[in-house]
Amino acid sequence: MRRSLTPYFFLTPALVMMAVFTLLPLLAVAGLSFTEYDVLRPPVFVGFDNYVDLLTEPDFWQALGHSVIYLIVTPTLIVLSIVLAIAVNRSLPGIGAFRALYYIPVVTGSVTVGIAWRWLFDTRGGLVNGALTWLGLNDFVSGLGFGNAPLNWLTAPEFTLPLAMSMTVWMGVGYYMVVFLAGLQSIPDDLYDAAVIDGCNGWQKHWHVSLPGLRPSIVFVAVISSLSALKVFDEIYVLTNASGGRLNSGVTIVFYLWEQAFRLQNVGYASAVALVLLVITLAFSIFNVRWLERGQEEAR
């Protein structure tokens, strides 16, 4: 009797926490999505009204579109962190210090980075406009069609998402670099030696040996970084001072959810948004897993 119940004793705390903080909220949010609820008055059942509203609401589609655009960070992160991993994967003096340094943005925290970004891109006092002036690029910048230099990076709608994405990349590249570094170091040396004998030069060697060898890491990074890109919030929140940017230029799906739920008290409607987010995440995960499986079959 004792033996047979033991595993459940060990599992109980985790399962209780899971039920209370994940499963129950999941059911609750699904239920709330069929109601109109403003926290003050009790929820009123409205059927599929929230979903109909949502599908006909341009702001929702704009937010969804922004989240899809945000996925550009995934290929960017993959390319940059592979290059960086190749760069630090060699025995040069001081290489350990470089690796550690590149990891620091990962642990820094989004509020600090947001403050740094706002201050780097400030129109009149920022280092970026300063550097552009110093390099004599102001005429060139003015000719790009975003207005005359110095540019208003923080308030011009077309820059809100790119700035947030640059923050995501800057904070993430060190993490993914280490993932790729581990991947590179698991590739046997013989493969590189064979490639050299076959007449590969430095870059061909990486193309023919490193990239195929990194395939599992690439899939891992693609999955992790695209899921977190879909759910981006902090970067937008700190860069736009919680405003979502001019003309909602930085409102992504999670920011929209937050705004509807916690600023406008449209709890029922926000729950419907949350459920759409779940469906998108699910679809994404399934697509990613399929892709992973196909990759493994090809590798065999």
Binding site: F10, M17, G96, Y102, W119, W170, F233, L278
Partner: protein, 287 residues
């Protein structure tokens, strides 16, 4: 095994010009990494005589001073923010690891009805975005638990982590069965086996799991800013965010606050950088 400071097996020693080229790349990236911090640092040390808004910008403070730090320190309970963050991170890590390691043991080492079902249920929760639970989580915090505006409200939802259960399960699987069987023959109960034999053998995994959980808790912004109302309960990210409002146009003070809040996590990282990287390479990418 990779460490940030360790030498490299796969990399070969390049030619002299190759070396120069690689150092150029490494230094460029290093500059891109460091410049945002240095720019904040420089601004935070600028005195009232130094221009903050100038074109071209003044790179270095002409009259360096700690005045801005003092001003922030006097206006905001930064020390409390730090303490709150420390309490939340520490208690979250301890409880999370305790609960996760408990659950990981039977999943790794026991056969019992429902094991696969429970395992897949846990797997499924990995897909659920945390943001999804914020709306009901908030309502529960207000109505059910009535713990809004307390540190508990930051700790309790952070205890369950399917990801940590998986990492620890993987680690437990590498422990030889003979070790557990021998202890059973000696009459040890399952809890004692878990506590005295299994946990010590997976200490490195516990350490890295703890570190990543701590950093996640330390930097989290959205949930704490939903929960906390009283300033004395703010964590560092929430406090730093409120500082931006208080010192709206006072860039020197905001920069000083940002530098102050980044120091503890820097120290933590530099002290534990080996564990950071071991965690990434052992758990994540065995695909």
């Amino acid at each position: 095994m990779t460490t940030l400071t360790g030498s490299v097996a796969a990399g070969r020693r390049p030619t002299r010009w190759g070396m120069v080229a690689w150092y150029a790349v490494l230094l460029l990236v290093a500059a891109l990494t460091v410049i945002p911090f240095l720019w904040l640092l420089s601004t935070s040390l600028k005195g009232p005589e130094d221009a903050v808004v100038a074109m071209p910008p003044e790179l270095l403070p002409g009259h360096p001073t700690f005045e801005n730090y003092v001003r922030v320190w006097e206006r905001l309970p930064v020390w409390r923010f730090f303490l709150n963050s420390l309490i939340v991170a520490t208690v979250t890590v301890v409880l999370n690891l305790f609960v996760s390691a408990l659950a990981a043991y039977p999943l790794a080492k026991m056969r019992f009805p429902g094991r696969d079902a429970i395992f897949y249920l846990l797997l499924a929760t990995l897909i659920v975005p945390a943001e999804l639970t914020y709306i009901p989580g908030f309502l529960m915090a207000v109505q059910l638990f009535q713990y809004i505006d307390t540190l508990q409200s930051l700790i309790l939802p952070g205890i369950f982590s399917a990801f940590n259960i998986f990492l620890l399960r993987q680690a437990f699987q590498t422990v030889p069965d003979e070790l557990i069987d021998a202890a059973r023959i000696d009459g040890a109960g399952e809890f004692r086996i878990w506590w005295q034999i299994l946990l010590p053998t997976i200490r490195p995994t516990l350490a890295t799991t703890a570190i990543f959980t701590a950093v996640g808790s330390w930097n989290s912004l959205l949930w704490p800013s939903l929960m906390l109302r009283t300033r004395e309960l703010y964590t560092l990210p929430v406090g730093l965010n409120s500082l931006r409002g208080m010192f709206e146009s006072d860039f020197r003070a905001v920069a000083a606050g940002a530098i102050m809040t980044v120091i503890p996590i820097m120290i933590f990282f530099i002290a534990l950088q080996r564990q950071f990287v071991r965690g990434l390479t052992s758990g994540a990418v065995k695909g």
